[in-house]
Symmetry: none
Subunit: 221 residues, 4 copies
DNA sequence: CATGAATGAGTATTCATTCAT
DNA sequence: GATGAATGAATACTCATTCAT
């Protein structure tokens, strides 16, 4: 109606070209939206990111976001729940020693934490969330932590690691890994695979007991 | 009827009773203000904290804040610069081995990081700052990191620690320590002194080389 | 996950089951839609009622409404024009006295005013309408008012009622009746028929002249 | 800071010149604000009135409104509570007959209902209010109604009016009076005093019993 | 020094309306 | 005819900041 309708968005670039024809368009668009939001929140901060910013990056209009989520808070909540879900999904080999379990778990953990979702979980944190949602995410984080604590206890029991205070040691280990998003850049010289190995090597050494074939033990011999 | 003009401040409790007569009132008030701001930023988040919140906690009026700082951004900047200053101030024993230097440095680092200022540096981060100020703080953080890298290099040179990539190892070590504000509560069963020891023990073990008298080595023998 | 794409409408209940096969489906659907809109506007208020609300009640989708009306404003306009039309349609016995005409007219008026359309006319009012449409409805209302004024004049002329200022008395009479939608509930103990009688009795007494068989006259005798 | 600060408001005309120096400025400004809001709500409708509209009329900036009220809803609530308060404040002569009490009560009622506050109470209604506030106003309105019902009962008891159903008659009477805001204009040929007399005459006639010295009776004689 | 009052700039959210399918 | 998706326009509300006193 109005003549001012100048900048009609080009449909082709909308949704960053990530959407194909098909049935699950709705779910796929949600995913693209979530990842874009996660990345932007991490880069600029939650409050510095306006919904317009996100819409602009997707080449859609701001109100369109509301077809997929009912509030900015809900977007963040879901980003963080996806992140937590990914981490909790790590299949755990129930035959392995505690030490082996931890290594495997951390492998996945590192991969997830440097991903958009995990990075947003760490860098944005839960403070911007509504109290109700904050509790939800905190529960999820607690679950992850309990997972590690149990592996530590298992390791202590099966002697694959030496006795320690699992609560505090878990915190140290998570700290070293959670800090990754603050400095690791995938486009540097270090790929995620290598990063994970080095990170795991570092935190595993923090566990007192030596591990077969490990430097520390070899030297000891 | 409205809350707006209710609650006239009681003068006596203003400034949290921390201010005595004397010459340095201005500087002292600034300090109280900074610490209060730092604590509140960490607890609620920078953007969730309004200047009214801070003023309320100090039992002063919002515009009064502007006698001491010229913007919210400046308050955060100064909080973080104080934190960085405290960490950089750590006197380094130039006679000590790299390993010894690192231990001493981390001791101070842990104390500072669980303090209001250090905690705010970590938890609030630099994203809320104006780009110009952000760079300033980032430079400071970089300086701290360089300090550790140099100690690592010194340790490698003097063989008190084994060869490693100082850049990446420094990141891991800082990660484990920087995560402290997210979980450590001084009112729990662990005092700062003990926390520091445990934390240092953990990260030092991450350095490959064994340290004389260390558990790992003793067991190996 | 989101509510957005949930709840696919069941076709069977669409249009509240009021639509049968046949030719006049379009007109009938319009009527159902109008009545639903009228009722909802009255209950929640025009601006509190979204087109989604109306569509939901009809178990159809929001854009479907636009097949029947070209705007929300037009819906309200038509509701009110229907109401006005109903009131103006009252056949007037040109043989009757003014008093008798008024009684008959009010009988119909009460029935219409407690109906969805009349209630919406009164409770929603013309303020939400576009200025152009507002004038239309106001003209209609004016016509209704003129109808009553003429009957009053006729009554004064034929002495069935006593001289009075028809303009102002008409306002009082309409006031008493227009207020009905604000309090009358058909499901209470009073049916519309009785309501009308009582209401008419009240407002007719406001006319000074006594009416044959009326209390006032009986006393006078 | 920005050069775009063109239209700085002239302070003199702000608050419509209604505010003098003195102590109660806050309370006075609130009153001016309330009255302005009430008038505008009645003229344009609650939802058609933006906070900017109100601010513009007062020659103040939109956020300034929030110094005096915490939401648009609260403004409306208070307008309506003022109106109800005024009506309930009518001193009732406990010596008078029911009929006399009613006349006196209605005199005040008419004055209040054509005032900005009363008019807003009637024309805006309670639908725009939050449910919680809606209940508050409805309780107030109910109190006013009960007041009239009691006077009616008293009148029936003291025979100053004839037996009737107080509930329903009260509704009719209020209807005739509540409709006033929809048509009465103070700047027409009828002042409030006369309006009140005529209105009261009309509704009192609706009460069956004749009143000593009343036209109806005199003529009957 | 301190502050009540005022405000510009900014943002999440809502909703009537359009359009491609 | 019907609808899911998309959007322009509009608005209440927040808050850092300024200024007169």
């Amino acid at each position: 109606m109005s003549e001012t309708n100048a900048g009609r968005r080009e449909r082709k670039r909308a949704w960053q070209g990530a959407i194909q024809d098909g049935d699950d368009q709705f779910a796929m668009k949600r995913q693209v939206l979530l990842r874009t939001a996660a990345r932007t929140f991490s880069q600029r901060g939650f409050h510095q990111t306006t919904l317009s910013d996100i819409a602009d990056e997707l080449h859609i209009a701001k109100p369109t976001l509301y077809h997929y989520f009912k509030s900015k808070d809900e977007i963040l909540l879901e980003v963080q729940q996806v992140a937590i879900g990914q981490m909790l999904d790590a299949a755990i080999d129930s035959e392995a020693t505690g030490r082996e379990q931890i290594r495997a778990f951390f492998h996945r953990y590192v991969e997830m934490i440097v991903d958009d979702f995990g990075t947003c979980l760490i860098m944005t944190g839960v403070l911007p969330l509504l109290p109700k949602n904050r509790s939800l995410v905190r529960q999820g984080s607690k679950s992850i932590e309990m997972l590690l604590r149990e592996m530590l206890l298992r390791g202590i029991a099966d002697k694959s690691i030496e006795p320690c205070d699992p609560k505090i040691v878990a915190k140290f280990m998570f700290g070293a890994l959670n800090w990754l998003p603050y400095w690791y850049r995938a486009d540097g010289g270090l790929d995620v695979e290598n990063l994970a190995e080095r990170a795991i090597e570092f935190v595993m050494r923090g566990l007192t007991a030596s591990e077969p074939g490990t430097t520390a033990q070899r030297r000891a011999t």
